[in-house]
């Protein structure tokens, strides 16, 4: 595939989990692509399938119970067609991942140095001494003071923020082409969150690495990402350039999310919450999964599932939504007060 094609291209990716009580459709047909060097934010509430999508791409979900359908193309090759050897050179070397909880993502029984050097030794073929030098260098780059001496410490001797820095160092140590950050700051304080986001952004820009940032916070992606993908009930419901999506949200769910977050710069008497609760992935409603909570829902929303369609002005960057209704023209129903489920 040519070098200007997408790095990662998901086509109709589905991940279902087999359970005693029938399949759980966690990811239910996701189309998504990431260009080289691009940063994409994936936003959604818990259970929307954003993490499962990326874990599926990395093939990190044990199968069974996880069952995959559709394609996940890495530079045109389907990830699901690979053998163990190709997969190992993909993980860590081509794509690296940072996880949500830095407390549990590092092995408590191994020294930080060991955990940092093993991938470098494996993927870059460095010997022990050189790998240690590189590990210390990486720790310095992510802002850990006196890195040489800290290589022989265990994770429990690091604070939460420091551990997440170690995770970033580890992820970037083999110079991957794409970095997947799965809620990297959810477990951290606001102030540490800002530091970590800043660090990821700076490091990624310096090396030209692509980024997929998974988060439930719209605020985080607004400052960090070129493009935003909003997920709901295992599907992409809206996707577009960050300015377009925040400035002109077209999918009722995105509108609801934006309105339900209190803003510092706007004084509001009451928030406008999205009514109801996210659907149970085992019993998704027919048609559009959001229709039961949607103030714009029409009869046809119950019949067919809306496909992603482009609503951008001709010639502009694509802005796609999965919605039957054009909310710029239709009027919403009055939301039920209180909005209990």
């Amino acid at each position: 595939m040519s070098s200007n094609g997408p790095l990662l291209d998901l086509r109709g990716l589905r991940t279902h989990f087999r359970t005693d009580r029938g399949p759980v459709r966690s990811v239910d047909g996701v189309d998504l692509s990431v260009a080289p060097g691009e940063s994409v934010g994936v936003v959604g509430e818990s259970g929307s399938g954003k993490s499962v999508t990326m874990l599926s791409v990395m093939r990190l979900l044990p199968s069974p119970p996880a069952m995959h359908q559709g394609q996940a193309l890495w530079k045109g090759e389907d990830v699901f067609g690979w053998g163990a050897r190709r997969l190992r050179s993909f993980r860590g070397r081509e794509v690296a991942m940072i996880f949500q909880d830095p407390m549990t993502s590092l092995n408590p029984y191994l020294k930080i140095g060991v955990q940092l050097t093993e991938a470098v030794q494996l993927h870059l073929g460095l010997d022990h001494a050189k790998a240690r030098d590189r590990a210390a260098e990486m720790l310095r780059r992510v802002g850990i003071p006196v890195p040489e001496s800290r290589l022989d410490d265990y994770p429990h001797q690091y604070s939460g923020g420091m551990r997440q820095r170690v995770m970033i160092a580890m992820a970037l140590s083999c110079e991957p082409q794409l970095l997947i950050a799965d809620e990297p700051t959810t477990a951290l304080d606001v102030t540490i969150q800002a530091q970590i986001l800043e660090l990821i952004d700076a490091q990624r820009r310096a090396s030209g690495t692509g980024l997929v940032l998974i988060t439930h916070s719209l605020g985080v992606v607004a400052g960090m990402c070129d493009r935003v993908v909003v997920m709901y009930a295992g599907r992409v419901v809206e996707e577009g350039r960050t300015e377009d999506l925040f400035g002109d949200p077209r999918m009722p769910y995105t509108v609801g999310l934006l309105r339900s977050v209190p803003r510092l710069d706007v004084v509001t008497e009451r928030l406008v919450p999205v009514p109801g609760t996210p659907p149970d992935p085992q019993r998704l409603p027919s048609g559009c999964p959001f229709r039961v909570r949607c103030p714009w829902a029409e009869a046809r929303c119950a019949e067919t599932r809306p496909e992603l369609r482009d609503v951008a002005a001709p010639g502009a960057a694509p802005h796609r939504i999965a919605c039957h209704v054009d909310i710029t023209k239709a009027a919403p129903r009055e939301p039920a007060s209180g909005g209990a489920a």
Partner: protein, 467 residues
């Protein structure tokens, strides 16, 4: 979430039961344990034979052996109602059922000679018959046999002569010793038919070979070759065989289950009461009390416990109470630790703070909030402690520390396994005396462990709520 489901509403226990029901192995375990418990409870009705009655002429019968339905000695007198223990149950029952019955027995004659066998270790050195006459050799006919006189145990031998090794069935001793034995000689051709007519409360007539018999008629079961009651052969089956002393193995297992399960249950209750109370107090009190109480548990944890129990059982009278205390003492430490941990973690849960803020009294918090939330662990511990205690009791019986139960010779499973092991024989030909008690015990422990595992999964708080 499932909040819109309409059929409400399962409490946590009902939910746990639902989860348990999905676990086939645990349910199978539950069924086995229930069957065992029922059998043990109604042992008197369920067991085919009274395990306290030895049928000494039916020693070492293999599983499934059919045998004439008799008692050791059959005593009847014409014109009298026999005592219950002198006649087989069918005769006794027939006396009262308002019909006439006839019972025919083919009996062989026997001659019993007293023998005095001098042994040197395991070797026969001298055989003396009546009046201290030394016999060169005792040769036994096809149905003749030898018996240890006071024990009633049969000696497996076809002949007896000085110089030969000790025959099987004789316990070995060191040094010179004397074995008093009986030589039962049976004349096969001297077969007579005894007829007993009975009904309406009495034995109406006893005839021997057609002639009426006056006075008491005594028939030893081992001489009876055939038995017909009202023309039909009267037999019974030892499904799992009999042991060296002629006790029915199945019945002994069922009665043994009674002892083992009883000990398991009571000792578990003892230990859990101590453990739960100790743990709850330690956890609820917290602070220095907690530290002190747990240090004590740490010290006791490091003890070689079973050795102390053995000392306890040899020092004191071996009765049930001592056994319960001894076994209870071994098992309380773990529940104490676990319950304490539970209480500590529940104490930290926010609903307890909420209850405090509502102005709830400490007592109510303990009863309504803390204790109900430890019940899951307690239930799991009960199901896992019972098999552990049964195992320990059987272990003690096996090494010889049997406990007498009300003075009756009913052995628990461990003692059954031990006697079965001793009875195996040189080629293991009497395997059933070991295998069946062992299997009963293993099956029960296996089932209880499975049930315990299943309950733990079903009650596991990790599976609750968040799924």
């Amino acid at each position: 979430m499932s909040a819109d489901l309409d059929p409400p509403s399962d409490g946590p226990w009902a939910q746990a039961w639902k989860r348990l029901r999905r676990n086939a192995m645990a349910i199978a375990g539950l069924v086995v344990v229930s069957v065992m418990a029922l059998a043990a409870t109604f042992a008197g009705t369920v067991a085919p034979f009274d395990p306290r009655i030895s049928e000494s002429w039916e020693t070492s019968l293999p599983p499934g052996a059919r045998h004439l339905d008799l008692v050791n000695e059959f005593v009847v007198t014409a014109g009298q109602a026999p005592r219950e223990r002198d006649v087989p149950p069918w005769l006794h029952d027939g006396l009262g059922d308002g019909h006439d019955h006839a019972c025919e027995l083919d009996v062989v004659a026997e001659e019993v000679k007293q023998l005095r066998v001098t042994m040197d270790g395991a070797k026969v050195t001298k055989i003396q018959g009546d009046g201290a006459r030394t016999l060169a050799k005792v040769e036994l006919g096809p149905e003749d046999h030898l018996r240890v006189k006071d024990a009633g145990t049969r000696i497996e031998a076809k002949a007896l002569e000085p110089g030969m090794a000790l025959p099987e069935g004789v316990p070995a001793k060191t040094g010179r010793w004397v074995l008093f034995a009986e030589w039962v000689r049976i004349a096969p051709d001297a077969k007579r038919t005894v007829r007993v007519a009975y009904g309406y409360g009495t034995v109406s007539a006893v005839t021997v070979a057609g002639a009426a018999h006056a006075g008491e008629m005594r028939i030893r079961a081992e001489h009876v070759r055939d038995l017909r009651v009202d023309g039909a052969r009267k037999e019974h089956v030892h499904v799992l065989g009999t042991d060296l002393n002629g006790y029915d193995v199945l019945s002994r297992i069922i009665f043994g289950a009674r002892i083992s399960l009883l000990v398991g249950l009571v000792a578990t209750l003892v230990s859990l009461s101590i453990g739960v109370l100790y743990g709850a107090v330690s956890g609820y009190a917290g602070g220095r009390t907690d530290v002190l109480m747990m240090r004590a548990v740490d010290v006791l944890y490091a003890m070689p416990y079973i050795f102390l129990v053995i000392v306890l059982l040899t020092v004191f009278d071996r009765n049930l109470i001592v056994l319960f205390v001894a076994l209870g003492l071994v098992q309380w430490l773990t529940p104490a630790r676990v319950v304490r941990g539970q209480i500590l973690s529940i104490k930290r849960r926010e609903f307890v703070d909420a209850a405090v803020t509502l102005g709830t009294t400490p007592w109510r918090i303990l009863v309504r909030h803390l204790i109900p939330n430890t019940m899951g662990v307690v239930v799991v511990f009960t199901t896992l402690t019972i098999p552990a205690v049964i195992l320990e009791e059987s272990f003690l019986s096996f090494i010889g520390l049997t406990v007498k139960f009300g003075g009756e010779p009913i052995d628990s499973w461990g003692a059954l396994v031990d006697s079965g092991r001793n009875a195996l024989g040189v080629n293991g030909e009497r395997w059933w005396m070991l295998v069946f008690p062992g299997a009963a015990m293993s099956l029960t422990l296996f089932s209880m462990n499975f049930l315990g595992d299943g309950l733990r999964d079903a009650l596991d708080p990790r599976q609750k709520g968040r799924g």
